[in-house]
Subunit: 465 residues, 2 copies
């Protein structure tokens, strides 16, 4: 029994409570009770008591879209549009990855997540060449949660011919599906349920023909049969809409509906250019969307209709996307960016409130990965994924509203303590489950190596002496 | 002689150099040389050597628009439009301030600035009731720099009658000007030149008639004669433009030109609704603008034409505005927001690069306060305002480009060391010039008191148990 005491608990449960002078009782991997500390201290005899004074307790943050291989590529390509970003930098570099490179990037990702309060994430495109098992094992070893989507495609040869996939990223239909099948079996319920395996069919994007429409339908069937999920980039860039119209004679969400890319086990990434008319389809089918505000801003991709989606009842999660594109993986900073972007875009100061974005970063993320009953809020019976954020800093003083302070004033560096599945992973910012220095050094070395190997110039804009 | 060694120096001087393995030699309050550490270690015998390994050195950040009284009001009014924000929350609360309240907020402001690498700021509206001398002395005591603009107005009675100024904020023309004259004399060159006194005429805004057009002209003359400057909010909200047209028959910048609110000693705050056609006037007259991206986003004020202004040659600085409105005063986070906002607004990935926003936060800020020759870059002869940012964190690893890492990955919590005028104010995040705990406690207490005194409800959105 673990007891977090004297904390301000922001539950994000159905009653959306803020409990002051609270305690959170944890037994094994589950929350037993959230209530007033004075009551819980009487009720439970705890083996371990964590003093939460001056801190706000929130559910572990869920980053619903995070390309782990790109974390060691932080800063290789800034202030460039998405096509050169991908084609001249990210793809050629990632196309030369070894499993050791991908592992170093994954471990840096997990460390950065842990230190900023993110306890669960979706990795949308895990290539065979990255070594799926090593990555999944790293998630387990760090004590965190991950949904790893194995990339699948059926027209890689054609895509390669058209120059929209790097040779190093090509996977044949059968081999990519076979590997997906294998890792699904191997990791089913892996790490005490902390690893989930999904399908990540390659994005339909001009002239990205790496997947045929029929292949999406087949993947949809496979995922359904396996009780797995699908995540797919959709309508992320402005030019995607005319591409869908030209290529398939329909809008992106129509396409998604026709070929099985909608439903309760589907998570659409970006959706930047999904129109008002398409939104109801997402709501009706229970399809989730993950919004990545800062990456969408930084690559001039556009502004997704998040307030409209939420009003229509679409479950919208939040993601940081990529260390190369964001360039931080800090869900607290991403929450603020989400709120501010949609307020100024709609010129409505309440378009996306602090409370709204906190929901997106927690319970909506949990629902997006089919774990709404188990994750995403602080309440009895759920997994004990608890994050304590220290509010005794100059930039978080005073605390009139813990939610506003968390979202608008705090940043990931204010996260003090992280508990996942009842296990204490970080306390007082000290990581208890990994050698931080070793991960940083390895990531730094591998990052430089993969860039050098690809022969890509990543010199800063300003002259270096 | 103080020597910072083994640092990556981002000079922001005219050559825009990045010097690796650099040293910065400081003698008294000035920088003597920036160059390779191996050379400087040979050339200078330093009494004190600061190891800058793993860190990036930048010029002290300059927050060109920061209402210090609002820092103790962090989180009192979120997700509301600007009118209720000001009229129902900020004004009634500030209208009841004592000098002790304003001082507590100022000290929290200075502490927050120091801990996030901001070494100089512009406080745009210092009321007589806040106790100017106490605030200026606090800046001096903390070792930082401040431009404090004494608020002046000539139609306060009319404004009060129309309900656009809180009774507690009313100052008569003569008393506000007399106080401005007094503090100008008292603080001329104060704190070794670390305090500057400016004029802060109240914003012309519907139906804010606290200043007559002729009064602006008179203030312009007074500031010119005194070698002082002026900062004024202009065209910050959409409705300001039709107001100017209706009331004065011209656009805001035409008004500003006609009544002396342009020129090298004028800093226009916000300028959110300044049109493309007005921009050349600002450039021709050498008028500076301070852009506050996150506050403008959060209150749904709009998006200023920053890339167009910069292209036209306007000096555009950066500001965090207010602890109540932002809600953090973190210039590093503000830089990222500035870049991303303008990229997505213009759909141009290079609209405002990492380098551009770093300039805005340093040298452009220095020019905006008439200190371009003395502040804003790391170069021989300038004041030694040096900030070291620690890049050995998970979210700042690897470092391919120190500028990109600083702007897009880092946050204020990564600032390790702050030197102002050659004096070490913070080292290893330990504040050497103030009792941090005492400031936090006083700010927390005063914040609660001023809100209670005003009888304003600041309950969180979610129910508190």
């Amino acid at each position: 029994m673990l007891l977090v005491t004297d904390v301000t608990a922001v539950t994000v449960d159905d009653r959306r409570r803020i409990v002051t002078d609270a305690a959170i009782a944890v037994d094994g991997d589950r929350i037993v009770e959230v209530g007033k500390a004075v009551d819980l201290l009487e009720r439970y005899r705890a083996a371990e008591v964590l003093d939460g004074r001056g801190m706000v307790a929130i559910p572990g943050l869920i980053d619903a879209h995070l390309h782990s291989p790109q974390t060691i590529l932080r800063g290789v390509a800034d202030d460039v549009p998405w096509r050169p970003y991908l084609e001249d930098f990210i793809w050629p570099i990632q196309g030369g990855y070894t499993p050791e490179d991908a592992l170093a990037s994954m471990r840096l990702t997990l460390l950065e997540m842990l230190k900023s309060g993110t306890t669960c994430f979706v990795d949308p495109l895990v290539h065979t060449r990255y070594g799926f098992d090593g990555l999944a094992q790293a998630v387990v070893d760090m004590g965190l949660r991950g949904v790893l989507a194995k990339i699948v495609m059926d027209q890689a040869g054609l895509a390669e011919q058209m120059g929209v996939i790097h040779p190093g990223m090509v996977e044949a239909e059968e081999s990519s599906l076979a590997e997906a099948e294998r890792v699904l079996q191997a990791w089913f319920g892996g790490g005490g349920g902390r690893v989930q395996v999904w399908y990540g069919p390659r994005v339909p994007r001009e002239p990205a023909v790496a997947c045929s429409p029929e292949f999406y339908a087949r993947v949809s069937d496979l995922a359904g049969e396996a009780g797995s999920g699908i995540t797919v980039h959709l309508a992320g860039e402005r030019e995607d809409v005319p591409f869908f119209r030209r290529e398939f004679g329909m809008r992106p969400v129509e396409f998604a509906r026709k070929y099985g890319l909608v439903g309760g086990n589907v998570l659409i990434a970006m959706g930047t250019w999904i129109s008002e008319e398409e939104v109801p389809v997402l709501a009706e089918t229970g399809t989730s969307v993950v919004h990545c505000p800062q990456p969408n801003m930084k690559l001039a991709s556009g502004v997704a209709r998040v307030p409209a989606m939420r009003r229509a009842g679409v479950n919208v999660a939040l993601g940081c996307d990529s260390g190369a594109q964001n360039n931080a993986l800090d869900m607290i900073r991403e929450m603020k960016a989400a709120s501010l972007l949609h307020v100024v875009s709609t010129m409505d100061a309440a378009a996306l409130t602090a409370e709204d974005v906190l929901e997106m970063a927690t319970i909506a993320g949990a629902r997006a990965i089919g774990r709404g009953a188990d994750l995403g809020s602080l309440e009895a019976g759920k997994q004990a994924d608890v994050v304590l954020v220290d509010m005794r800093k100059p930039h978080t003083t005073p605390v009139f509203d813990p939610v506003a302070n968390l979202v608008y004033a705090a940043h990931g560096g204010d996260v003090d303590t992280v508990i996942v599945a009842g296990r204490l992973l970080m306390r007082g910012r000290e990581v208890l489950v990994a050698d931080e220095q070793e991960i940083l050094e390895e990531a730094d070395r591998r990052g430089r190596e993969v860039v050098a190997r690809a022969g890509v110039s990543v010199a800063p804009e300003w002259p270096v002496e």
